[in-house]
Symmetry: none
Amino acid sequence: MLPNKTTLMQRKIMFIILDGLGDRPCKEFNGLTPLQKADLPSFDLLAAKGMIGRHYPLGPGIPPGSDTAQLSMLGYDIRTEYPGRGYFEALGWGLKVENGDVVFRANFGTVEREGKNLIVKDRRAGRISGKDAESVASAVAEMDLLNGEVKAFLRHTLEHRGILILKGLDLKPEVTDVDPHEVGYPVLEPQPLTPSPSAKKTALALKEFVLKSYKILKDLEVNIERERSGLLPANIVLPRGAASKLLIPSFKEKWGLESAAIAVGPLYRGIAKSMGMRLLEVEGATGMPNSNFRGKIEVGLSALDSGFDFVFVHIKATDVASHMKDPKLKVEILERIDGALEPILDLPEDYLLLLTGDHSTPCSLGKHSGDPVPLMISGKDIPRDDAGRFDELRCIKGGLGTVLGRDIMRLVLNYSNRALEYGLKPKPEEIPYIPRLSQLVPLSIS
Amino acid sequence: MLPNKTTLMQRKIMFIILDGLGDRPCKEFNGLTPLQKADLPSFDLLAAKGMIGRHYPLGPGIPPGSDTAQLSMLGYDIRTEYPGRGYFEALGWGLKVENGDVVFRANFGTVEREGKNLIVKDRRAGRISGKDAESVASAVAEMDLLNGEVKAFLRHTLEHRGILILKGLDLKPEVTDVDPHEVGYPVLEPQPLTPSPSAKKTALALKEFVLKSYKILKDLEVNIERERSGLLPANIVLPRGAASKLLIPSFKEKWGLESAAIAVGPLYRGIAKSMGMRLLEVEGATGMPNSNFRGKIEVGLSALDSGFDFVFVHIKATDVASHMKDPKLKVEILERIDGALEPILDLPEDYLLLLTGDHSTPCSLGKHSGDPVPLMISGKDIPRDDAGRFDELRCIKGGLGTVLGRDIMRLVLNYSNRALEYGLKPKPEEIPYIPRLSQLVPLSIS
């Protein structure tokens, strides 16, 4: 019989990511950021009960994708443990990815033809959704490519988003993006990234898919209808983030923590799944500005109460407002999130809260930037700084300083009293944690 | 036809280096640094329109040379992309360096014989210049070494500075400096840095050159004249910074930016040339305290107005004052630079200014130190901190934090809206930038 308690109080961890949290001064607010403009009593109270600071998810000035940022913040090495975005998306949407498949994240977009080129007018086809999106998706759901050597499957997920899987012999995820990531740029021809015949074959198949999708979609009835109603047509599929299946160590193997995740978007669900986190469902959670933030916090709390050590709560709405270049919406969302945090304002002493973003998405840019991201660790009896308020300016001088994304799990383990002295684990380059009793092998005396 | 504009405003970058900018408290100013003592309304206004911070060019406490510092700050890896100082100096002075040559930066110095040693009294022979320097240089311009196996060529550049090229079979830049870098120390015998016969041969040739140069220069008429007039004789050549030819990726390959450089000293011109930057000339620019600072800023601005994305402006005078241990001169120079910055006080929103030093040269030391260097990024609508003033003390708490030299280009790309999301370029370990349209392959539809 092993004891259930040690003398050391190990805290349970709530790890909240507000996607795209960090921002820049907004003209609409006379130079204030959304965090500065919003009225956020809960954020401020939590900040007062802990320390604030900033993190560069990947490094100073490097704009991360949500996937590489979150992977890094959860303690994974993106150089060796990153399969590519498409794999997470597929996993998160419940699609089966087999060895040899090449998977892409894909957007429905709007292009206009100029000579021989297709110029991107909108990377999200006016955030097409519902039946329109389904009609578009079903028109390009399956395709034979390279004379039948490769098969393409496109699955619609949320709004303008989808997943493209290429199946066939000798395919490799070593190709550039078709999506130029910028409005006003031409749709790009995918290029092989290595000299291997597989990379070349994959690039050719992908090119054929994109050209065919344009041919089919440009005259599709639903698009003609949309244009008539003044909506942007979804006349192209823009794949990016080539990936293949990759098994990475589970979160429990890495950190010894029983973990659960609350997220809606396929990407975030896929990240959690790839780490073996238990996915929890929340009624009314949509991944959009109307999501049920309070429900997420409550489900997270119950998970911690019922045996999980770590719960990852992902809230997408902040990033959506930023991509829409709508700082007022971002402020509204922040204030609603602030209200949703009430149940954790008076956390018991065996809980630790981490609250941050996965990257900055300045409303003035409408896309991810390499700016630092506000960061907060809060809980009873942890060290405090004198910051008082949680915004980009105050975070400069906070007690957590400016760290890297990959430092965050170490800080979390430290303040949850779960970190083991360096050098006490087999691989010293890894970050040691205190093993659960169930993971230990007690000495047997006969 | 590709579009010229995207919706995203990409800023043009003015990158100003004030050599040796950082300093320590000066007795002459009751413990203030030159930046604190000087009246610098332009610096302060620019700081108020952006963020300040500090950088360690190579790492905390490491005193860099100007070459390694600037290379690092421009995003090059000094472990693999640094040919040695001599190569840059030669390139910058328009000398041809061939494969197999070994090139040194060389100073004319003043030594006194003590027993068998030559003790350095001045590493710059009283900053000898003009006709005196030319006479000294021509006396040691060419030499046969190692019984004619090696030929030495010395070219005078600016003031006390020159370039030494050794030509011959089997030479390698793997030798220590002859210049001890400290007054009061003996001139050093060059030592091979590797056991290779080439390193040994190079060391022997270099030793012979230095001994011969002393023999020739100690009795040279111009030196006897100088001593008579109370000036320091240039009775030795002190080579350092052994180098060989090395091709490094161009600045455009690295960052996708069309770049120009404004610099006078051969070292700085050589660095710019090695990166394929276009060198621009400025009337009255001397690399000395009397230089035409305003002209440099104006030529830089026109370059940005006429199609360059990035202009590197190097100002040497601050470092000269520090090496002369003259904080009052440094203050005067800073105030003159401050006046020269007027044309950029009201930069249009599509410009970004980076202003910093390549290293600290405290006047109290008279040489480079490993202290952090004040750093500023300024421009319309970029995030601001509440620093207000630009000096060593305020920079501690600035919003840019304390970064490394190699982070600077990423920050510059980020705040000029040119950074691309991580993972979108072939080699994920490299920092991606937004490619110019001319570098992309648009998809062609038939």
